[in-house]
Amino acid sequence: MTIIAVASIVTAGITTGFGTMGPALAEGRAVSTALTSLAQQPDASPTITRTLFVGLAMIESTAIYCFVVSMILIFANPFWNHVIAETVTK
């Protein structure tokens, strides 16, 4: 039982930590490129901004997936619920 709790919490931390790392780098690159092109072509700013937002949402959704998984691990862990149900019925 303790092992499950320790594994869940540690995995949740690692999931969010590593899962946000990649999207953070990717979003930094995307924003910097968008800023460069905005500085070069201010006329195209509506198109660039819209595409940037859509792209950022796409990139960020991967980080959100990791966050949701870690939240499930902490607050709605299926293994944990299973163990608790077993101990209650015992």
Binding site: P46, R50, V54, S61, I64, F67, M71
Partner: protein, 241 residues
């Protein structure tokens, strides 16, 4: 700690539950419908018009121009659907300034319903625009090999829409909840402001993604002249409300 407003139950009879998600969703719908009815009751074309009419006109015209920018030639046809999505998601996060309110979009069932309506609306608009054969043909473009991938993308983007909105809304509420236990004085307010910002951005993203999907499904083959560059306020909707 509550993960979603689903677990906040106001009234229960048998297996019929009235949880916070349903209550706030219907409240929101009521506010939107009654508000729109009240504002559009006496519209004028004079110089003096109510500020609510001005607000509504700004919202509608900028939504039309945004939809047009995405590549849909007749924005008015799609304004009802996309505008409703934007207004609902936007108002759901805007109302977090009211104490005791929890955004219904912080529940996976609401966002799944919204994403499913997008999933249903995309083929409907596609078939209405290109006909049954023309729409089904878009699945085997450029080659037949792409057929399973097109179907998978149809499902996976619906999932992504739902989970993205849910994750953003839930994380906002969760962060505020955690911060309230650590630094209960000033910092949660700052995060609430940030939550308002991300809520607006998510509303914009949700509706613009739906518009992009519909535009991809209804893309006409005949080349149309480049639409005139939209004048005026084209910045994203953050300042709009």
């Amino acid at each position: 700690m509550r993960l979603s407003p689903d677990q906040m139950i106001f009234w229960q009879h048998g297996f019929v539950k009235l949880n916070a998600t349903i209550v706030f969703t219907w409240g929101l719908m009521l506010v939107l419908v009654v508000g729109a009815k009240l504002i559009t009751r006496n519209l004028t074309t004079e110089h003096t018009r109510s500020r609510w009419q001005n607000l509504l006109e700004i919202i509608v015209t900028s939504m039309v121009s945004q939809i047009k920018d995405v590549g849909l030639q007749h924005p008015r046809k799609y304004l009802g659907f996309l505008g409703t999505l934007f207004l609902f998601v936007g108002m759901a996060s805007l109302f977090t300034i009211i104490p005791g309110y929890e955004p219904p979009t912080g529940s996976l069932s609401t966002t799944a319903a919204l994403a499913l309506s997008v999933m249903v609306a995309v083929p409907l608009f596609g078939i209405a625009d290109r006909g049954m054969g023309g729409y089904l043909k878009s699945y085997i473009e450029p080659t037949v090999i792409m057929l399973p991938f097109n179907i998978i993308s149809e499902v996976s983007r619906t999932l992504a829409l739902a989970v993205r909105l849910f994750g953003n809304m839930m994380s906002g509420a969760m962060i505020i909840g955690i911060l309230l236990t650590i630094t209960p004085f000033i910092f949660p307010i700052v995060m609430t402001v940030l939550g308002l910002l991300t809520g607006m951005v998510q509303a914009y993203i949700f509706s613009i993604l739906a518009a992009v999907y519909i535009a991809a499904a209804t893309r006409t083959r005949k080349p149309t002249p480049e639409p005139a560059p939209a004048t005026g306020n084209n910045t994203p909707n953050k300042q709009r409300t």
